[in-house]
Subunit: 181 residues, 2 copies
DNA sequence: GTCTATATTTGGATAGAC
DNA sequence: GTCTATCCAAATATAGAC
């Protein structure tokens, strides 16, 4: 089961998330396609298992970050870890954070994992002095914007994401200034 | 021909860009599916015609903006027009600016139209004092980040895009400060 | 230009034996 | 749990008549 999901990720890395088919997955696993229904009730159930697994991977990765005592530095660290996670596997990022799969919506249990990721990051923003919802939205959108520009124009490079820390500073400074008024 | 493309856009708005099929398009136009090959050599040729058409629509929209003499105000105007264009038709934005269609790459002629759009916007950034490539990249990525957050979390609203002007100011100020050093 | 008819491929899903 | 066999649906594309 875990092995099948791992195999599916491998296929996704090679052919994109939409390129994962039950026939292809079964071939890669070494069984016949109908046998997959022993593990997943449907294609969407497979996606959901991958969604949950990917989020668990991400949570583990974020857990592994040794956070600085300085709140702003900690925010930069966590966003850098998130960005690295996104860039190292575009197909995984696509399944977890983009909505390209027609009809797929994660189950509530899987979605809860995604929410935990966001909560974790937002908590660090708050600690760094970014408390207004609008400011939080901006940092989230900017991070995603840099990642998506990087992935679609220059996967493997850093032309866009290298500006992340600078933009965080700009935003955090501005957010703090505004919330003090 | 133009009518067929217009029909395809209508379908895209209803069902998403991936939901445009030759059968469905033929039905909407009032002909049989094989007859479409009289107008387009392939599905991708249809996409390419839509891509070119969408970019022409956007260029026309940008042309219609009465630009302020103040360069920064003009930049805000053009980015606001771009954003409004993006939000009013998510499927069109998807075809023009996201890479969700497996195997589709615009032809050089169509791509030239997209490049013209970008050049137009970059020219206004330069006029506003944003000249470094990195700063230009940041503004592009931030604009796209806000648009994509808006479209995927709250299409029809303005929770994210309402911060665009503020972020432009922040970036332009910072870019000018840096380039003066 | 438009049609009918059909080829071809791809993928998800089910039935039922072992 | 895994298999064979099959079904079904959707979609692109082509052949050839009118």
């Amino acid at each position: 089961m875990a092995g099948i999901v791992a195999c599916a990720w491998e296929l996704a890395r090679e052919q994109g998330i939409a390129g994962v088919t039950l026939h292809g997955l079964a071939r890669a696993v070494g069984i016949r396609q109908p046998s997959l229904y022993e593990y997943f009730d449907s294609k969407h159930a497979l996606y959901d298992a991958m969604f949950a697994d990917g989020n668990r991977q991400l949570i583990e990765r974020l857990n592994a970050v040794k956070l600085s005592r300085d709140h702003r530095a900690a925010l930069k660290q966590i966003l850098a870890a998130f960005t690295a996670f996104a860039l190292e596997d575009p197909a995984r990022y696509e399944l977890l954070f983009q909505r390209h799969l027609p009809g797929f919506t994660p189950s509530p249990e899987s979605y809860a994992l995604a929410a935990e990721v966001l909560n974790r990051i937002v908590a660090l923003m708050r600690a760094a002095g970014v408390t207004a919802e609008g400011d939080i939205d901006c940092i989230v959108a900017i991070t995603a914007g840099l990642i998506e520009a990087q992935l679609s124009n220059n996967p493997g490079g850093n032309r866009w994401v290298r500006h992340l820390n600078r933009l965080i500073d700009l935003l955090v400074d501005d957010a703090i200034t505004r919330s003090k008024q």
